[in-house]
């Protein structure tokens, strides 16, 4: 996987990208809730005080804090949604960037997409249009 494409993918730009993000936000929220509930109920059941634990280990204090849990949920949703959206909408975004660059008058190599991206035929037609 091309890491730079993954990092630069504009997840929230596309309507479907936003939909994918909300889906993964829901999944991450439910999984985060299950994890948080398990940790809290275990601490209670085992009779371990979160305050005492936090006083001994600063790492545990961070891990058990609400902000960190929220960060984990948001971070995992962003990561999963960006990965999925990049596979799904990435080729479309690359076509758009290529056309815009071409419209600005820059001389660039032909638009090329992998056959498995399904848009390879469309990219050939666009190349023909701009040749």
């Amino acid at each position: 996987m091309n890491i730079s494409r993954f990092l630069a993918h504009p997840l929230l730009r596309f309507q479907r990208g936003r939909l994918v993000f909300y889906c993964f936000l829901g999944v991450a929220f439910i999984m985060g809730l299950i994890t948080w509930w398990y940790i809290q109920s275990t601490l209670k059941f085992a009779g371990i005080s979160p305050i005492a634990v936090g006083a001994e280990s600063s790492l545990l204090k961070v891990l058990l804090s609400g902000y960190f849990k929220f960060g984990i949920i948001l971070g995992s949703a962003l990561l999963a949604a960006t990965y999925t959206s990049q596979r799904f909408l990435g080729p479309l975004y690359r076509i758009m960037v290529w056309i815009k660059t071409k419209e600005l008058g820059f001389e660039i190599a032909d638009l090329k997409l992998r056959d498995r991206d399904m848009l390879s035929y469309l990219s050939r037609l666009i190349n023909q249009l701009y040749s």
């Binding site: 999944v27 275990t42 371990i48 005492a52 634990v53 001994e56 479309l92």
Partner: protein, 139 residues
């Protein structure tokens, strides 16, 4: 008989890869949640005031949490994998129509007809640029 519009799988290879991408996304969330839970339980069991009995509880709960998250993850992977298939079906249709339209426009030397998509469609920007290019080309 079902028409291509009614069929969910129109382009099997591409749509399958999208379905797998959605399932892989769920796997990413599962790995992060499981890692978070297991690391927390591990660190809790390493604190000085925890007794052997409490360590045993933490270990059994960590293992239980892993299996609960895995089961939830598999269920979500199946749901979102299916959702990915349906979503990609709505994506494949306009692209196929755009390919046919562009092919016709490139072959025909007559006045181009405009390709229309809904303003909120993901293809809207590309379609706008292509329409403009064709207009310019045929002037």
């Amino acid at each position: 008989m079902t028409t291509p519009r009614q069929r969910i799988v129109v382009h099997p290879e591409f749509q399958r890869s999208i379905g797998f991408a959605f399932a892989a996304g769920v796997f990413i969330v599962f790995v992060i949640a499981a890692m978070y839970g297991i690391v927390t339980f591990y660190l809790l069991s390493r604190t000085s005031f925890v007794t052997d009995q409490q360590i045993a509880i933490l270990k059994s709960q960590a293992s239980l949490l892993f299996w609960v998250l895995l089961t939830t993850g598999v269920i979500f992977a199946l749901i979102l994998g299916w959702f990915g298939l349906v979503l990609s079906h709505r994506y494949v249709g306009p692209i196929k129509r755009l390919e046919i339209w562009l092919e016709t426009q490139l072959l025909a030397k007559s006045t181009p007809s405009e390709f229309k998509v809904r303003p909120k469609d993901d293809l809207a920007d590309i379609v706008q640029l292509l329409n403009r290019r064709l207009m310019k080309r045929n002037k």
